[in-house]
Amino acid sequence: MAPRLEARSLVKRFGPITAVDHISLKVEAGEVLGFLGPNGAGKTTTMKMLTGFLDPSEGEAYVGGVSVADDPERAKRQIGYLPEGAPAYGDMTPRGFLTFAAETRGLTGAARDAAVARAVHALSLDRVIDQTIETLSKGFRRRVGLAQAILHDPDVLILDEPTDGLDPNQKHDVRNLIDGMRKDKAIIVSTHILEEVEAVCTRVVLIDRGRIVFDGTPAEFRGRAEGAGTLRVILPADAVEDAVEQFEDLDEVSAMDRHPTPDGRVRFTLTGDDRIALINRVTGVIDGAGWPADELELDAGRLDEVFRALTSRETDHQDSNQGQEVRA
């Protein structure tokens, strides 16, 4: 079966600037792909090509096996899209706007009303349903845009910064919403917020200057950070010999270090490539032996460090031109 969403070597040039440089992706149902990258990396441009708003300079986009270029209407029917900034018609009410969107998607009568009611409920828009959109707060406007995107229960959801402008509670709600829709949809979420990746994404794609520089799970992404996959645990002195022996036997542990603590116990520092497996196996050993472990702590690695490490070339370049304006 064709992937839900596929980008085949997409390229977009604006005059002399290459905004997107051969991006290839396949997204399946059940995946929430976190699309990361610095401002101007090409995230939004890529999404605009996937949704058929922009024509690629090279390459092709497919939605459920349908070419966006050859049969745009059929491709667009399968997509729910929240464009950057959640644009909506300011003079309409959320009810009018959502009804309009439903009609363009071929929903009429009771089916249309049911779809609107479902989206309104999912985004808690009941309170503002008959106010004009231009009078709504930024958070509500974003939610109106999201409601429009999920209205027709699409197979593919493409959301450009869905939580921008929301307060922490609303962010939480939107993440829950995305998580709840995950199992039968392919979802792409672009974001600047790295914690969001941890919260909702099953996969991370980081792009920098139009190219993919990382594609993997959030755990692998975090694993790129220095000190990632490192587990620290404090054990009593009498357990040390046994512990060393058992930890050395674990395939998941690639390096081990131990230091006595001031109160006479020993702190183990265990490193592994797969930190999830690492913590599972190590806690299994500790539980099995019945040691009174203390301060079991996983050094999670800092996402923003990975982000910076993978996309910092440009920053370095700018640093070396201290004070000079670098014009695009």
Binding site: F14, K48, T51, G52, F53, L54, D55, P72, E73, R74, K76, R77, I79, Y81, P83, E84, G85, P87, A88, Y89, G90, D91, M92, G96, F100, A101, E103, T104, R105, G106, T132, Q148
Partner: protein, 241 residues
Amino acid sequence: MTGWLSIFKREFRAYFATPLAYVFIVIFLVLSGVFTFFVGGFYERGQADLLPFFAYLPWLYLFLIPAVAMRLWAEERKSGTLELLMTLPIGISGAVVGKFLAAWAFTAVALGLTFPLVITVNFLGSPDNGAIVSGYLGALLMAGAYLGIGAAVSATTKNQVVAFVLSVTVCFLFTVSGLEIVQAFFPDAVGKEVAKFSFLTRFNDISRGVLDLRDVIYFATLIGFWLFLNRLFLDNAREAG
């Protein structure tokens, strides 16, 4: 071409959701009244017809129709809703036609509201109602042509003022090409050809009761041509973001 009806309905309602519709209709009715009765000398002429009304209509439309059309695409581009619209499963042509028809229907409503003139003239005398019907149909076609120009021009910019000024200019050229003062610039043969493109020349004939099929074809072709340009301009607009 699918989805044009949803676009049409949304657009048509949008006129009445803002003061635009009411301001436009009131100004249109007041000005057409002023032109008909004061400038056109409706009573003084002592003839039961609507020629004073129809004579000034092209000049009224020259400014008022671009004012209706200027927002059509410029506003969508400015607010970012163009991206939303173009990613809904409606063909671009459907959106172009839907928007155009909504604007046209709106100007038809405004034109229809001049019906008291028809009643008045029938009350005062016995006019040639065939000529009046022909005049109204011609007015509607002419409004469509002005709108087609305005809609296409509106797709070239994010700025509504720029759209307004440009479309008044283009509409002006299409209006005045039939005037003698313009004709004087051209050799006779060329001038006659240029005059064929004038709304004024066409509409003057129509409002005297001669609605020729060729006039209908002329306006329909012109509308089609500008809607086609509108589509092309939109493709550029997408690239420009």
